[in-house]
């Protein structure tokens, strides 16, 4: 990692007794695609608003490119935001919307329209400058919001669930475009989302938020294969978090661990580096490429097993009501620490 774009040191934001952000420290590198992932109310959006300057921290320090940002109003920060509801100015046409940032900085009319045209061209909306926001589709408004932020050439771009309102196909297409754009421009993207698939597919690193705290900051691959806490194991992908009595029965220790559903097979443990348990198959859900089997273990805990549907219907697979044996390799198990509950 080269230089630091944004650094949080013990940042908290409290609203009365509610700790929206609670003692968070992160370092985001320059040029990184960094995602903040978490359920609603986990503090990820508040963190973004702290960087943008819409909120001020209760305590702690926020450095943006090495400069203390706490206390600075939004208009004195070298960051720009793409809002969840786009926040395009309805009384201006698209070109004036995009040129707004340059206009308030006193850039001349000719110059700023040229820049705005170029920014619109970058998001493939070059011919739409004369329209009003009301005449654009959701996906187009999204691109306008992007162009309006990027025309200011910020060093950090903040994106607050920008694809939330789009339908699935458009969302996937925009994910690819955003990633390509970020690589081309080389600026830092800080991306807030509650969609773990989105975070995994686009980001260099992801911070997983829960109840105002960060559970884990890691690469998408590590988040999936080596979740640090039960919350991460469960929130990123699906996972079987095994703890307490069942863990005791299987491993002989109460240490919690997780096993991904695709790593479990219907078999007796074959060798010493395999572990397993027994249970009853309760239900089977068909998901197209895969099927998901729900098993109730002897202790009553529910476990999930995912089997690929690549082969035609396999007659050896169990049916609901059958007693089944489950097995997984020892290296598929990830030990978990407690994390935030």
């Amino acid at each position: 990692m080269t230089t630091t774009a944004v650094q949080f040191t013990n940042v908290s934001r409290h609203y009365g007794t509610v700790k929206a952000v609670d003692d968070v420290s992160i370092t985001i590198a320059d040029g990184e695609f960094f995602s903040m992932l978490g359920p609603s109310g986990s503090g990820k959006t508040t963190c973004l608003r702290l960087i943008a300057g819409f909120e001020q921290p209760t305590s702690g320090s926020i450095l943006i490119h090495g400069k203390e940002a706490a206390g600075l109003p939004p208009y004195e920060r070298d960051v720009n935001t793409v809002f969840q509801d786009y926040a395009l100015f309805p009384h201006m046409n698209i070109l004036d919307n995009v040129a707004y940032g340059l206009m308030v900085k006193g850039v001349g009319k000719k110059e700023r329209y040229k820049e705005a045209e170029a920014a619109l061209g970058m998001v493939a909306l070059g011919d739409f400058g004369g329209r009003t926001p009301g005449q654009m589709s959701g996906g187009q408004r999204q691109r306008v919001a992007l162009a309006r932020a990027l025309v200011n050439r910020p060093r950090v771009l903040l994106l607050d669930e920008p694809l939330g309102a789009l339908d699935l196909k458009l969302r996937e297409q925009m994910q690819t475009e955003l990633k390509t754009l970020q690589r081309k421009l080389g600026i830092t993207f800080i991306y807030v989302t509650h969609d773990q698939g989105e975070a995994l597919s686009m980001s260099d690193r992801v911070a997983v938020f829960n109840k105002g705290k960060i559970e884990q900051v890691d690469s998408p691959r590590n988040l999936y294969t080596k979740p640090a806490t039960p919350f991460v194991a469960d929130f990123v992908g699906t996972s079987n978090v095994i703890e307490g009595e069942l863990a005791q029965v299987i491993t002989g220790a109460a240490q919690a661990f997780s096993v991904r559903p695709e790593h479990i097979h219907f078999a007796q443990p074959a060798s010493a580096d395999h572990l397993g348990t027994q249970g009853t198959l309760i239900d089977v859900h068909y998901h197209g490429a895969t099927s998901r089997f729900e098993i109730k273990a002897a202790t009553g805990q529910l476990l999930a097993v995912t089997i690929s549907n690549r082969d035609a219907e396999d007659p050896t697979l169990p049916r609901p009501g059958d007693a089944v044996a489950l097995s997984w390799a020892r290296q598929a198990m990830v030990p978990l620490s407690a994390g935030t509950r």
């Binding site: 819409f54 935001t81 509801d85 707004y100 308030v104 009301g134 309006r148």
Partner: protein
């Protein structure tokens, strides 16, 4: 929701009867502004004349009353626009201690009987050792004009997404630029509609004015004094008709301006 049942004849008659009862006197005033007869309201009309219009406009006391009313209404409206917008901006989003009381205090002048506002203002003016003059009338009118502007503007604020303001700040605009380029265009029609209604309200106000005007004569007070002079009744009719027009046109304007704003104000959402 509209009910499916057709209204009964009785209900229709009552509704139309009510409307006629409300507006017939106005019609009479307009009609008799053109009557040739001098004093009495006799029917049918004796003849048609525009003579009284010439008479009315020849009266210097009437013209100066009109001019004073226009000045007062303009000043009261300007005060109301500034204060009403500031109050709406302060109260629409943030919750703070005493917010409900401040809201109530803003809205109260429109609910209070004018006579109470008038007496209160008069004693305040006396306590401050001021002579009633143009400014005391204008400020007296502003007390109830503020709430008109405030109500219009705060309704628009509530329909406007706050992220527009954040977006403007985010793009580098300071508070004043944000107000000038984003907030003002968003509230402009609501502000104008509120201002027009405030102007109309001030223009024909009489009760509060009676207490705050001192020797000054606004148009409504001039009219009231005219009623004691039977010979001037036709002139009074002419002036009454003018007041009606002067207040009706702005009210229609306000209605026209805020007509379809539900659609345009939230168009970006």
């Amino acid at each position: 929701m509209h009910s499916e049942q057709k209204p009964s004849l009785l209900l229709k008659l009552a509704a139309w009867g009510g409307l006629v009862f409300l507006h017939f006197p106005i019609f009479v005033v307009v009609l008799y502004a053109f009557n040739t007869e001098e004093s009495a309201f006799s029917f049918p009309l004796q003849g048609f004349t525009l003579h009284w219009f010439a008479d009315a406009f020849g009266r210097q006391d009437m013209l100066s009353a009109v001019w004073l009313s226009v000045k007062v209404a303009t000043m009261a409206t300007i005060l109301a626009m500034v204060l009403g917008t500031l109050a709406a901006g302060a109260l629409y989003r943030k919750d703070f201690f005493g917010k409900e009381s401040i809201t109530l205090m803003l809205i109260l002048p429109i609910a209070l009987p004018g006579i109470i506002t008038g007496i209160a203002l008069l004693s305040a003016i006396k306590m401050a050792n001021l002579d009633p003059n143009f400014w005391t009338i204008a400020i007296g009118h502003a007390t109830f004009c503020v709430v008109i502007v405030y109500n219009n503007v705060i309704a628009r604020f509530r329909r406007t997404s706050f992220s527009l303001i954040e977006a403007s700040m985010d793009l580098g605009a300071d508070g004043w630029q944000t107000f000038r380029y984003v907030v003002l265009p968003q509230i402009a029609t609501a502000l104008l509609a509120g201002a027009i209604l405030a102007f109309a309200l001030s223009f024909d106000e009489i009760i509060v004015t009676t207490f705050t005007a001192g020797q000054e004569r606004t148009l409504p007070i001039w009219l009231l004094n005219q009623l004691g002079r039977p010979r001037d009744v036709p002139i009074t009719n002419v002036v009454a008709m003018m007041i009606m027009l002067m207040t009706a046109i702005p009210i229609f304007g306000a209605w026209y301006l805020t007509r379809g704003t539900e659609n345009t104000a939230g168009a970006s959402k």
